[in-house]
């Protein structure tokens, strides 16, 4: 097996993986979601993960971000084995995730959701003693972040998230991850519900995040998007990594053919 992917010619090969997984297994009763899956993410790269519906992509990143504890397998961060028991552990390690289910609290406002778990407190005694929140600041920043994403149609920043349209919700989740990630940002189909303009902004945001030196994992079914911005593409199939390809050496058709099993990759992973 070639852990660094097939056909890589990029300089990143020389650096050590930032986040790595080996032999992850996750079973649900009769269903096997992850079947000895491997994963490698290098510093500063955009890694796309593609695969059929139900291939196990979301399960993979849920394992990487502490949202599920795999039945077997090992995860390493900077080469050191880690055991994330909860998403908080992963966040503490600088890994921020947009889940496919978005993980928003429906009855809280947009601003509350953006800052959930890392609220800003007032300065002065009110903040330190009374632990009072700085709601003004949080609302202002939330508004800024959403405007950056071009979600201009949000009319009221104190609207409950449950009253937002599908795309608006996704925008809130993406804005949250981008604002707080410090090492890795994982995005599970971040543009699925987004419009053309908003999707474009998210792609720009991803590039921006990479420019800030973070690594990005992007799960997407949108081939043009994937081939446009990914540095490497991890192809997932039937619960495991089939192969990793370089978007410059392969065409979208190749990728689709690998993904759907129409063609076998030259070197099969695992």
């Amino acid at each position: 097996m070639d852990p660094k992917g097939v056909g890589m010619s990029n300089e990143s090969i020389t650096s050590a993986p930032l986040l790595q997984a080996r032999g992850l297994v996750k079973r649900y009763g009769r269903v096997t979601a992850l079947d000895h899956a491997d994963f490698d993410l290098y510093p500063g790269e955009i890694l796309a993960v593609i695969g059929d519906n139900g291939a196990g992509k979301s399960s993979l990143i849920r394992a990487l971000s502490g949202a599920l504890v795999p039945n077997a397998g090992e995860i390493r961060l900077d080469g050191k084995p880690v055991a994330f028991r909860s998403p908080l552990d992963a966040q503490a390690a600088g890994i921020e995730t947009v889940y496919q289910t978005l993980a928003l609290s429906p009855s809280l406002s947009i601003a509350d959701n953006m800052f959930l778990g890392r609220e800003l407190r007032r300065t002065g005694l009110l903040g330190t003693v009374c632990r009072m929140l700085d709601r003004k600041a949080m609302q202002r920043i939330a508004r800024e972040k959403l405007t950056e994403l071009g979600l201009m149609t949000v009319q009221n920043i104190n609207q409950c998230v449950e009253t937002l349209s599908g795309g608006q919700r996704q925008g809130v989740a993406v804005a949250r991850a981008a604002a707080f990630g410090s090492r890795v940002v994982i995005l599970d189909e971040p543009t699925a519900a987004l419009g053309v303009k908003e999707s474009r902004r998210v792609l720009e945001l991803i590039l921006d995040v990479r420019r800030r030196g973070l690594a990005v994992v992007l799960i997407s079914h949108n081939m043009p998007h994937v081939f446009e911005i990914a540095d490497r593409i991890h192809i997932h199939r039937l619960g495991r990594r089939l192969t990793v390809i370089d978007p410059k050496s392969y065409t979208m058709s190749d990728a689709v053919a690998f993904m759907t099993g129409a063609r076998a990759p030259v070197v099969a992973a695992a």
């Binding site: 990029n10 500063g44 966040q91 009855s107 959930l116 632990r131 201009m152 540095d231």
Partner: protein
């Protein structure tokens, strides 16, 4: 890794149109409106104002039926005294209900704590402040037990608190030997325990420290729920625990602390209870569970979690208190009072829903 975007496909062609796209930023509409619309929007933005309207309407209704006896300052402040205990216990219950839980042990914790305070302060001759503190600690301990069972063993709160209700109540009967401590003895040996029963006159109305204490507690909890991160996390956990966990909230820690806090509030309720009835009785608090849940639900909270406000609970308790007091003052037989309270609760909540719908 350097930027390697040179040899790759560009954005899809049609997206180029975006460059010309409008770049208007998010609009946050601020308009002026007619008074009725203003009221509508006020109610929409302040959902707790709705039960308050229902409360005012009930007071007005009883005032016109029963007359000045009901509307006297004295009687109105009496109602507040009468809902003190349920207000305090309801505050604890509100916190639990917001997290999508339910606490059937609040009454048992309260009476256990009052008995412990009383036994220590009166029969064992401990200094009253110490007895009080130990009582509060026991409340925290009971809450912690609930909390551990809910968070570590992942048991449904209904089962946990149903079980601990039996446990705490049995302990209470055993420790007290089912014996009441008389008001006179409490006054003699540990009058601090009765402190919350002290009356105060404010603008001609007679309150007790207990009712003022309850109002202060409600205010404090309002602040915590609405102005601190802990409060927001409570709502998030109740709303969708999975989402909250994924968002990086220590849901177990939040849940555990909320049960502990509820236990402490119940112990404070025990103090208020001693103030109100003077004596310390192991039989007290038997209706506290249902009454507190009723106050919470009449106040607009959802038993499914994530929704509810502490002010709503207070108003809910007051609504029920007004009904009971008003009916008692009118000349209705106790049996039909029960009947009428049933209807009034339904009507109050229906009215609440209706106002919400109209103002939506």
């Amino acid at each position: 890794m350097t930027d390697i975007g040179n040899s790759r496909p560009a954005a899809q062609a049609f997206e180029l149109a975006l460059d010309k796209g409008e770049s208007r930023v998010a609009e946050f509409e601020v308009r002026t409106r007619a008074p009725l619309q203003k009221l509508q929007h006020f109610l929409h933005a302040n959902p707790t104002a709705v039960p308050a309207i229902v409360l005012l309407l009930s007071v007005a209704a009883f005032g016109s039926v029963v007359g000045p006896r009901f509307l006297s300052m004295f009687n109105l402040s009496l109602i507040i005294q009468q809902v003190t205990i349920i207000g305090v216990i309801g505050a604890a219950q509100t916190l639990i209900v917001i997290t999508a839980g339910i606490d059937l042990s609040v009454g048992a914790i309260m009476v256990l704590c009052s008995v412990i305070m009383g036994k220590l302060g009166v029969a064992m001759g401990l200094a009253a402040p110490l007895a009080l503190l130990i009582g509060l600690a026991v409340g925290a301990g009971c809450g912690a037990m609930n909390g551990v069972l809910v968070t570590r063993f992942k048991l449904p709160p209904f089962i946990v608190t149903l079980g601990t209700w039996s446990i705490f109540f049995a302990l209470n009967l055993w420790y007290s030997a089912s014996e009441t401590i008389r008001s006179q003895d409490v006054a003699k040996f540990a009058s601090l325990l009765q402190a919350l029963g002290t009356p105060v006159n404010i603008f001609g109305a007679r309150f007790t420290y207990g009712s003022l204490f309850m109002l202060a507690l409600v205010l404090a909890i309002w602040f915590v729920l609405n102005r601190t991160a802990f409060g927001r996390h409570l709502y998030a956990v109740g709303d969708d625990p999975d989402a909250a966990r994924l968002a990086g909230i220590r849901t177990d820690r939040i849940l555990f602390s909320v049960y502990v806090i509820a236990g402490v509030i119940c112990a404070l309720g025990a103090w208020a209870l001693i103030g109100r009835i003077g004596s310390i009785s192991p039989q007290a608090g038997q209706t506290a569970n249902l009454d507190s849940i009723t106050a919470v639900v009449v106040g607009g909270a959802s038993l499914f979690g994530g929704r509810g406000s502490i002010v709503g609970t207070l108003i809910g308790a007051l609504i029920v208190g007004v009904f009971r007091n008003g009916l008692a003052l009118s000349d209705v037989d106790v049996l039909w009072q029960e009947f009428a309270v049933g209807w009034l609760i339904i009507i109050a909540v229906a009215l609440d829903q209706w106002i919400r719908k109209v103002s939506a």
